[in-house]
């Protein structure tokens, strides 16, 4: 009988410890782990990809851009404008919080700020040259509702474009569904809807379309369509100012 009691207490203690341990994993640790998985799905390592950006205006007119982009690590993105002709040859580079624009006529890269928008519409420079979410944000709150995680993210530094994000993630595959971007005042700046999950090959399965709207740009909508995502390795020197004028060599 005493043996049974002892056994019962050992089991109870172990179970309680397990439960306590589970609950004591800080929300931020679990949230950041989910965030990293989200990044791995969206941008799995070093890769190249093509994107079409469609800026829809309130009157229904559209402006379209086509970009060739390369990415390495969590914080290096370079992008070449392929169309329209008026912007062809322009190139942008982002390394962490640093961002540059190269215009062939000007002949030198100039520093730009993440909140500016080179292409107009709802997307700003930081949206178009987005880094991994986990490179810029920390999870501060995690909610679970049915099939989704809902993450509250806070910017790691003041140079990040948005002070905080709210992110909806599908539990079973860590695919992000929606992101809301907020200013430090708590004002909603824009909403990103991730759509049309597609198998790009090479193990890359992610949303192929991102639709963006903003209460600050009433009637505007920006759509980013991904194509030809391929895993590819690049030397670090590709992500330097000196290489911006040579980005076309990579295609």
């Amino acid at each position: 009988m005493r043996k049974n009691k002892l056994f019962f207490f050992v089991i109870l203690f172990s179970f309680s410890t397990f439960i306590w341990a589970q609950e004591s994993i800080p929300v931020s640790v679990k949230g950041n782990a989910i965030l990293k998985k989200v990044d791995e799905v969206l941008a799995p390592g070093s890769m190249e990809y093509y994107r079409k950006l469609i800026n829809e205006e309130p009157n229904g007119d559209k402006k379209e851009f086509i970009f060739y982009s390369v990415k390495k690590d969590r914080d290096k993105v370079a992008m070449l404008y392929l169309a329209p002709a008026s912007d062809k040859g322009r190139a942008t580079l982002r390394i962490g919080d640093n961002m540059w624009l190269y215009i062939p006529n000007v002949g030198k890269p100039i520093r730009i700020t993440s909140m500016q928008s080179i292409v107009g519409g709802v997307f700003n420079n930081a949206d178009i040259m987005r880094l991994d979410y986990s490179a810029e944000y920390d999870a501060v709150k995690l909610d679970e509702s049915g099939k989704e995680y809902v993450l509250d993210l806070k910017a790691k530094t003041r140079t990040v474009s948005y002070d905080s994000l709210k992110m909806w993630v599908i539990k079973k595959n860590n695919i992000v569904e929606k992101v809301e971007c907020y200013a430090a005042s708590g004002k909603l700046i824009k909403t990103l809807d991730f759509k049309q999950v597609k198998d790009f090959g090479g193990g890359v399965v992610r949303p192929a379309v991102i639709e963006t709207t903003s209460p600050l740009y009433r009637g505007y909508r920006s759509i980013m369509i991904y194509s030809n995502i391929k895993r590819k390795k690049f030397p670090d020197e590709v992500f330097t100012l000196d290489y911006l004028s040579r980005l076309a060599e990579l295609r």
């Binding site: 030198k108 730009i112 040579r246």
Partner: protein, 431 residues
Amino acid sequence: MMVSKRLLLYSLILSTLILWKTAVAQEYDFEIPVEEETARLEFSGNLDAVWGILRTNPASPFYGLQFFDQDKPDEYLSQYRLDFYFNSDYRYKQVGFTMRTFSQYTKEEPIDLSFFELYGSLNLSPRFTFSVGKRRYNWGKGYAFTPVVGYVNTEKDPENPDLALAGKSSIYLKYNRSIRSNLIQNLSFTTIVLPPEAEILDKYSNFNDLSTAFKLYALMNNIDLDFMFYAGQNQTRRYGMDISTNLRENLEVHGEISYAKNDYIHLIQDSTIDMIKRDGFSYLLGLRYLNSLNITFIAEYYHNNSGLTHSEYKNYLDFLRDNLSSMDPELISFSKSVMSTSFRNKNPMQDYFYLKASLPEPFDWLYSSFSIFTIYNINDNSFMLSPQIGYKPFTNSEILFWPSFFFGNDDSEYGSKQFQSKVEMWFRFYF
């Protein structure tokens, strides 16, 4: 039995055909070249059709000299010109060829074609770049001005800093290296050898006029840093550095400083042209700021050590006025030559302030943009003010309405311009 024989016959014929096809295919088949092995030739460019109305400034000696011996023009003049930029880029593996041309049409006469850039390059790896030919360089961080103009840059026009400019004949070698450290992320070293332009019989130049420029670039702790050096046996020796960084997500700051040893400056002293040597620093401080109304501000202060003081500039104007009042064609011709050689700087004086504010799609006017800039000459309190309204009705087209107004007294830089104001319409087409 009959059916099986037929099947056998058909199978034999089919097999023979397949074998024959395969044999032919093996002999003539080829692999489609993959993308990176394909030579690529691309053309691009734009046509700017510019129509302007200019209000003359008869009090200006520049106006007097330009229109000397002409029938007295009206107070308002118009100008129509076509600026054509044609670019070609060829690339095959590591070999590249770049051509950028410019030609201007104002009336029916033979058109001059200028090669703004014409060079071949060997891009040996992402770390090494080598080119030979005429190539444009744009060192420095300034938007409207740059103190490092004496190194390898062609002087840009602060009224239109984004305009394509001619390069320089040069040999260019760059080594670029990324570094995985917390302090320095990227280092590059550039060497440019600049053969002098042909001056003797339009074919030769003095060997001693050869000059060399070096630049060391570092991305250090999220700060762009450049250290520059320029020297040649008969050239002004220059040392410079520039810096730029983003302080906030909407604020960028930049600066440049350059020291010139024995910089040659032309002055008018006792009504004659004199060339003096001046040592000293030129520098620039600037910022780019985006506010909550989506207005981008660019502000720059520029000190040009090789520029003229107010009294030196007044002497220059007096010199031109005296020669103009002499009505002597030889003196007039000499004055025009002096204007285009010894005093041709786009920023002839010492201290300037530049401010530009630009707003895309104001009042929800689709495809439009509005900007306004001023260049203020701190030495003589003259300035220019230039608003600009842009509109892009269709992809690859742009219309600009661009007036400019010049303010200042007769002895000031902007007050002495040959035009008091101008209004231009630009129609720009890209291809």
